[in-house]
């Protein structure tokens, strides 16, 4: 089998996802070629043919043009499978390519089992084993699902792709994530509030537990989106990545985008009323309980002990 891997490039830099794409081809026991809209000065570690279009000409974000370039490479290489990272770049571009190819798409592939692709359902509470009924298949790979087992050091054989045509979207540049606020990366203890806290007032309870443990409080995305706290406290793919000695997740279901930001914590305690909550996958301890009852009791005991 031959797989075309679609590497990513942003703000003048190659993104690290190409190593995971390569690991996927290892797991699929397949041959790989790679595609990148990027820059010659910044090539992925890859032993094979790399089709490279210059980002200065094609635009870093220009899906219609990237699609056309990809279709040219696909016509030349005839891969059976085209693999993207499941990222803001990949989930935007992949369906465009899939439709043009009459290919089916499997999104957020998490595993390969007996040659079949596995995708998550319902916040990863369930999963499906899939079969394509089209000649070609497009996949996007969940970040972190195909962690490379060994580092690769190789220089690709670069094939330049001329850029023609314009897109239908005008891209004006980037806006950095809001700076300032707390630096969660220094905290030894993080107590994190999820939507399960129910209302803004209950954030104080979580902050008090954090204080008792001499740590910081943090939050999942809905708590930030609702403006109950500011973005600098958000943990996850679109927030901070943390690795404290202790992470206490209060009323957080454990969506993959949240887990990505905290799964390297040394010890994880989850407090959740749902015994099946996916946070259980990374928690050392899951206390099945209403956080509104448990947190004040626990805080009191810790304060008594520390006194």
């Amino acid at each position: 089998m031959k797989i075309l891997l679609v590497a990513e490039y942003r703000e003048g830099k190659l993104l690290g996802t190409s190593a995971e794409l390569i690991e996927f081809t290892v797991r699929m026991d397949a041959q790989a070629v790679m595609f990148l809209v990027g820059n010659k000065q910044n090539l992925p570690q890859f032993d094979g043919r790399l089709y490279l279009a210059d980002a200065a000409q094609a635009g870093e974000f220009n899906p219609a043009v990237h699609k056309q370039l990809l279709l040219e490479v696909i016509a030349r290489e005839q891969p059976q499978l085209i693999a993207f990272p499941h990222s803001s770049y990949g989930w935007d571009l992949a369906p465009r390519v899939a439709l043009a190819l009459d290919a089916t798409q499997f999104s957020e592939v998490v595993d390969v089992q007996e040659g079949h692709l596995i995708v998550p359902v319902c916040n990863a509470k369930l999963q499906r084993r899939m079969k394509a009924e089209t000649e070609k298949t497009v996949v996007t790979l969940q970040a972190g699902a195909f962690t490379p087992t060994q580092s690769i050091s190789a220089t690709p054989e670069v094939i330049d792709l001329p850029v023609t045509g314009a897109g239908d979207i005008d891209f004006q540049g980037y806006e950095a994530a809001a700076a300032g606020g707390v630096d969660l990366s220094k905290a030894k203890v993080i107590v994190s509030a999820g939507r399960g806290i129910g209302k803004a007032e209950n954030l104080e309870m979580v902050a008090n537990l954090a204080k008792a443990l001499k740590g910081e409080y943090a939050a999942s995305r809905p708590v930030v989106d609702a403006d109950w706290t500011d973005h600098s406290r958000q943990v996850g793919t679109t927030g901070q990545t943390v690795a404290p000695k202790l992470y206490i997740a209060c009323g957080i279901s454990g969506a993959i985008q949240h887990l990505a930001g905290m799964k390297k914590s040394d010890f994880v305690i989850a407090i959740n009323t749902d015994k099946d909550a996916p946070i259980g996958e990374v928690a050392d301890v899951l206390a099945v309980c209403d956080l509104k009852q448990l947190i004040p009791l626990l805080t009191e005991k810790i304060n008594a002990q520390q006194a």
């Binding site: 942003r10 974000f61 803001s88 989930w91 935007d92 369906p95 439709l99 043009a100 089916t104 798409q105 999104s107 957020e108 079949h116 998550p120 359902v121 319902c122 509470k125 369930l126 999963q127 499906r128 084993r129 899939m130 079969k131 009924e133 996007t140 979207i169 005008d170 891209f171 004006q172 540049g173 980037y174 806006e175 950095a176 994530a177 001499k214 995305r221 930030v224 973005h231 958000q234 793919t237 679109t238 000695k245 202790l246 749902d274 015994k275 099946d276 259980g280 996958e281 990374v282 050392d284 301890v285 899951l286 206390a287 309980c289 209403d290 009852q293 448990l294 626990l298 005991k301 520390q306």
Partner: protein, 257 residues
């Protein structure tokens, strides 16, 4: 201005799921159903646009069985003018391409200037349907939006990227946009608006009328993921759990010294 919002009904994610008899999807019985979270942001953004423009007509469309109407009524109470249920008891079995083909057929019949969709659904999570619809219609699509504005036929928006950075993008209508969490603050329908919504038009179209595309993929089986974590599950009353967590903090961590 003619606006379409595509919405989906999904089960409460805190449900205890069971696998259905065919072994390829979750059992639909005994679940609480709600509007896909991402779609709430889509409806809200469309209603805000209608308020901004004054002169706009807002249709919400959903594909699904009879219970879907309940959710469509919520969108009507939020401010949509008309609901369309594409009646389909097997909508959960369709792949994203088939679902997109139905929406595209409907959209072609009505010439929408702007189509809103959630960036993904909470159950399937393919993040494909919106983009596929746009590609089928040959119009531009902007995905994963956390900011949206519309002036004189131009959509200016911010797409969310990893780490919370954003890309500034724009395109001209007709176009499709997909909405990310936090794009706005979805309103709660008020009682008077719930009453008003009861009088709004709610059409039902049989799925067969919209030329569903043939399936492109098959689910071989559905399963619960193998538990990878070796985590301890503690159950009991709150004071007992607090006691046990204290012991664990002392024994397994160094944070109490």
């Amino acid at each position: 201005m003619n606006i379409l919002v595509c919405i989906k009904q999904i089960p409460d994610m805190e449900s205890r799921f069971k696998i259905d008899a065919a072994g390829t999807w979750y059992d639909q019985a005994d679940l609480a159903w709600r509007m896909n979270e991402y779609d709430e942001f889509a409806v809200e953004q469309a209603v805000q646009l209608k308020e901004q423009l004054g002169d706009a007509d807002l249709t919400v469309l959903s594909i699904g069985p009879d219970r879907t109407k309940e959710m469509i009524k919520k969108a009507l109470a939020m401010g949509a003018d008309r609901g369309v249920q594409v009646a389909d008891d097997h909508s959960h079995l369709h792949d994203p391409h088939t679902i997109a083909s139905l929406i595209a057929t409907f959209a072609r019949q009505h010439q929408f200037d702007l189509i809103f969709a959630g960036m993904q659904s909470q159950d399937r999570g393919s993040a494909q349907v919106g983009v596929l619809v746009a590609e089928m219609l040959g119009i531009p699509s902007l995905t994963t939006l956390v900011e949206f504005s519309y002036t004189d036929g131009t959509i200016s928006a911010k797409r969310e990227l990893e780490g919370g950075a954003r890309a500034l993008v724009s395109c001209t209508a007709p176009a499709l946009v997909t909405c990310q969490l936090g794009l706005n603050t979805p309103r709660y329908p008020t009682l008077p608006n719930i009453m008003k919504a009861k009088k709004k038009e709610l059409l039902t179209i049989p799925v067969g009328d919209l030329n569903p595309a043939d399936p492109q993929q098959k689910t071989i089986s559905m399963a619960f993921p193998e538990k990878r974590g070796s985590g301890l599950i503690l159950e009991g009353d709150a004071s007992e759990l607090a006691e046990r967590l204290m012991r664990i903090l002392k024994e397994k961590t160094t944070v109490l010294v």
